[in-house]
């Protein structure tokens, strides 16, 4: 399988372990990712909060680039995915907006390229195909899968399996040999977009999620979003030390890929003691 790959700005900086692990994990699973040439920022929350037209036009430039590259687009960041997917949804379904956006971005939309979250791409391989690639099953690792808000909502745009109780991340984690625990905070928002501006609010939002994870005795949280991952690690109460993994890091561990230690070392909450205690890392 060959796909265009849109890393997004965070994966080039604060979430670089997500970028590294996504590329390695996909390679290990037989998915070839080709980085979209000269991609542009999706505009994130900042564009849609202040200028609706900009929030559709900016990611549409990436849709235009993907169209030119001629392959479906895989996006690891939940926030980027949400914005590019929304732009594609508008271009696909709203004739008036499509005309305006085509004028602004100077391209002709032909609906030939589909926008996918990277989790969706991996999930579609199927549990069996993933399990067959596993070299080191993640035995004893009990985790909660945290989908957050942007990957699963709004449901008419994202079209995932179940908005209120998604399972696609849990299924991947299970295929890797880890134990996904069911909990009720899967799709609650962590407030990452307010993390710099309204810390007290975000401490409250993250606190509730962390408490829920601890209540079901999770050893770690699994995410597919750079904003969730850094926000959950940064804004949890000091001394909590509950690591948040990217799902691609767990794939890397289970496939026995060589660079996993390098990714773990980049975390704000060091996951190495946990991995060592389960003999999953040296």
């Amino acid at each position: 399988m060959r796909l265009s790959y849109y890393p997004g700005c965070s994966l080039k900086a604060t979430a670089k372990e997500y970028d590294m692990s996504a590329r390695d994990a996909c390679k290990g699973l037989g998915i070839e990712l080709v980085e979209l040439d000269d991609w542009v920022c999706c505009g994130a929350t900042c564009a849609h909060s202040t200028n609706h037209m900009l929030s559709i036009a900016l990611p549409s430039q990436n849709v235009a680039l993907a169209q030119r590259a001629g392959m479906d687009l895989a996006i690891p960041c939940a926030a980027c995915y949400s914005r590019v997917k929304k732009a594609d949804y508008v271009l696909r379904n709203d004739d008036v907006m499509r005309q305006k956006v085509e004028d602004i971005v100077d391209f002709k939309y032909n609906a030939s390229v589909n926008v996918h979250s990277l989790v969706e791409v991996v999930g579609q391989l199927g549990e069996k195909a993933i399990a067959e690639k596993v070299q080191k099953p993640l035995k004893g690792l009990k985790v909660v899968c945290y989908y957050g808000c942007l990957m699963v909502r709004p449901p008419q745009v994202t079209c995932f399996d179940n908005t209120e109780h998604p399972m696609f991340l849990d299924n991947i984690v299970k295929a890797l040999g880890a134990e996904p625990i069911q909990w009720s905070y899967k799709t609650e928002c962590c407030g990452a977009s307010l993390s710099l501006t309204s810390k007290d609010v975000v401490h409250g939002m993250v606190g509730r999620i962390i408490d829920a994870a601890k209540e079901v005795e999770a050893m770690a949280i699994v995410t597919a979003c750079p904003l969730c991952q850094s926000n959950l690690e940064m804004r949890q109460a000091k001394g909590t030390d509950l690591p948040a993994f990217y799902f691609t890091e767990l794939i890397g561990l289970a496939l026995g890929l060589p660079a996993t230690k390098k990714w773990s070392n980049l975390h704000l909450v060091n996951p190495n003691p946990l991995l060592q205690s389960l003999s999953l890392a040296d």
């Binding site: 670089k16 542009v40 564009a47 808000c149 710099l196």
Partner: protein, 179 residues
């Protein structure tokens, strides 16, 4: 909706048109508020915002902190039995509050503007300079220094921005979509 007061009618119609949402259908079931993570930290529940819009209460709505503390997680819209995407309403209200100069959560807007300036200049957001500029302009210089230093040491905040080739086109998109 019918109004005696023309200004109230105008406000209601503007929000409905700008957001594209059927806000007249809200019957206050409060399903949105039940699932909203921001309720404990803001001044109105999402259903209260919708009710205030239905009643044409422009000043109270555009001066509220709720429209800015809303993190656009879209839980409200996903659960609304009347198909109202409340996050889209919140976005429309934010744009109207900016135009009216009544932004309650000034730092949130400052963050958005600093972020978008970075995108306009480079085509991508340069996290290190964007965060530095935000902290400088907001006066919140000292918080999170430990995280910043940790990330710098780990090479997670490259000091030089990546500039995309199509910067001219991005400026063009910004200019064509400017209010």
């Amino acid at each position: 909706m019918s109004f005696i007061d023309a200004d109230k009618r105008k406000f209601f119609n503007e929000v409905r048109e700008k957001s594209g949402q059927p806000i007249d259908l809200c019957y206050q079931c409060q399903k949105c508020a039940s699932g909203c993570i921001a309720t404990g930290f803001a001044d109105y529940y999402p259903n209260e915002i919708i009710r205030l819009v239905q009643l044409g209460q422009k000043e109270r709505v555009l001066n509220s902190s709720s429209i800015w503390i809303c993190s656009s997680c879209e839980m409200c819209g996903a659960r609304c039995p009347n198909g109202i995407n409340t996050a889209e309403v919140m976005d429309a209200l934010k744009e109207m509050a900016i135009a009216a100069g009544t932004v309650k959560e000034k730092n949130v807007l400052l963050f958005h503007n600093t972020f978008l300036s970075s995108v306009r200049a480079f085509g991508r957001v340069h996290e290190a300079s964007m965060m530095g500029l935000y902290k400088l302009k907001s006066g919140d210089l000292m918080s999170d220094m430990d995280f910043g230093m940790d990330m710098l040491k780990k090479g997670k905040l490259p000091l030089l921005p990546h500039r995309i080739k199509a910067r001219g086109k991005i400026k063009d998109i910004f200019n064509k979509t400017a209010h």
